[in-house]
Amino acid sequence: MTLPLVDLRQLLPELIVTGTAIVVLAWALFLPVPRQQPLRWLAAGGVGAALIATVMLGTQSTSAFAGMYARDALTQVLQATALVAALLALGLSGDYVSRTRFDGGEFYGLVLFAALGAMLMAASTDLLMLFVGFETLSIPLYVLAAFARSDQRSQEAGLKYFLLGAFSTAFFLYGIALLFGATGSTALGSLAARVGAPTTIFHAGIALLTVGLAFKAAVVPFHFWVPDVYEGAPLPVTAYMSVIAKIGAFAAMLRVFVGALALQAAQWAPLLAAASVLTMVLGNLAALRQTSIKRLLAYSSIAHAGYILTGVVAGTPAGASAVAFYLVAYTFMTLGAFGVVLMLQRQGHEADQIADLTGLAWRSPALGAAMTLFMVSLAGFPLTVGFLAKFYVFTAVLDRGQVGVAVIGLLTSVVSAYYYLRVAYTMFIGQPSADIEYVGGRWVTAALVVCAAGVLGGGLFPARLTAFVQQVAQVLR
């Protein structure tokens, strides 16, 4: 047996992220906790370098590790999205980590490892590789959710996320085992080859695999963990995991459904369409009656999972581009919204009630304007990136004749405007509570500016962003 040749240059972005994460973790051992700020620069530098490497490597389709790993346009676009999310998350968490005395080295190391997992999921063309990426993404997030380890709420979030996450991993793996039995291989390509003569085992395998991915992406009916985990986890962790887990899960869905199972769309599309409709309806309705901004954004994240899923339901290259565009838009608006909440605190604790935002716009007009922008974009108003994201997924699904899905999507968007605008409205009325302090810092300000620029830039001048994400379509044609 000859060993397959591996061109490690293809893996440069992953290697940079891995190397940086290990150096950050190891270096932190020699620094006392208050002096770990330089590691933030190191982590951000590593992510930046990986981002440049991803873009420089281009979209030429090549594979490595005996066809388990592919570097193509889908890999490039989604890895770039994951790295931007990681960079923004490092910015958002910077001051929070210092003021809560978190062990910075471990925190940044785990953020990088989770990004690595999402990057591997985007690049995997084999179910085993997908599994490794899935776990590399999930396990750091379990630890991050429980990161405030003496805080009972954070512990509880960590435990719930861990137990339910491991439970979903078992389903995901059983799916892989059944697909291996049905096709005799774990390569995604062999799924495509078996589409002509599917067996019961094949269908069961696909169903179980989907359960695992739907759990990660927070799609109804596998969403029940989301509100509790999002509420309990420390704010920067909530922000990061709401974005990075979606990038990984939807990258995998694109590879599996739009890529490998494209010819079987008639069978899976109705099921995913039903899940997507349920997700949009339930996520938006439950968000209406929340009083905690963390829980509100948790249900909003469920609702957006439904919108993104409509792009997968379309099953076309245009749908895949729309999914990629949505993920970029979602990254900017959600991280931005969480970033504003991060800057408020009450006696050293997170101020995470909607009522805590009262009067924010008068006390700090820039912050109020930014939050209004993110809310308007999340609701999908024109001139923001959130509008275009919804426009692209709905047109993609309309082109396939799935009118019902698009109509439900539009109606639920209208409903969502109510609770998003209620947050914005709260900021313009009443007197700010005296015990709410504003804790900014250079890092979080920089991240917020980038998020706001992304939301506005993507909404007003989308040409470059659209051209970038549309490369995804080449791969799935």
């Binding site: 512990q155 435990l159 137990l163 439970f167 059983y174 085992a177 005799g184 509100p227 509420e231």
Partner: protein, 101 residues
């Protein structure tokens, strides 16, 4: 006498369902976690049975991946459970209920 592959697959499925039942019915975080491990091992059995039947190594290699990941999950999971036990002196899931909507 050889045992037919169907028997292995059926045993795998049975163990997997037992694991699901354990996760859904038991209240101790440790037992729930053990049930999840049971599900992962049911998957391993399925992988090995298919690998044997198909004469392909990939299924056996997959088992090593599952084992390593399960070990990592044990490390993280037990750490979280210990952190909870330290502050509350219980690992009963019904007592871990601060987060409610």
């Amino acid at each position: 006498m050889t045992v037919p592959i169907g028997a292995y697959l059926a045993l795998g499925a049975l163990l997997f369902v037992l694991g699901i039942a354990g996760v859904l019915l038991r209240r101790s975080a440790l037992i729930v976690f053990m049930s999840i491990e049971l599900m992962l091992n049911a998957v391993n059995l399925t992988f090995v049975a298919f690998a044997r039947q198909l004469g392909r190594l990939e299924g056996q290699v997959a088992v090593f991946f599952v084992l390593v990941v399960a070990a990592v999950e044990v490390v993280v999971g037990l750490a979280i459970i210990i952190a909870i036990f330290r502050t509350r002196a219980t690992v009963d899931l019904d007592d871990v209920d601060l987060l409610r909507g």
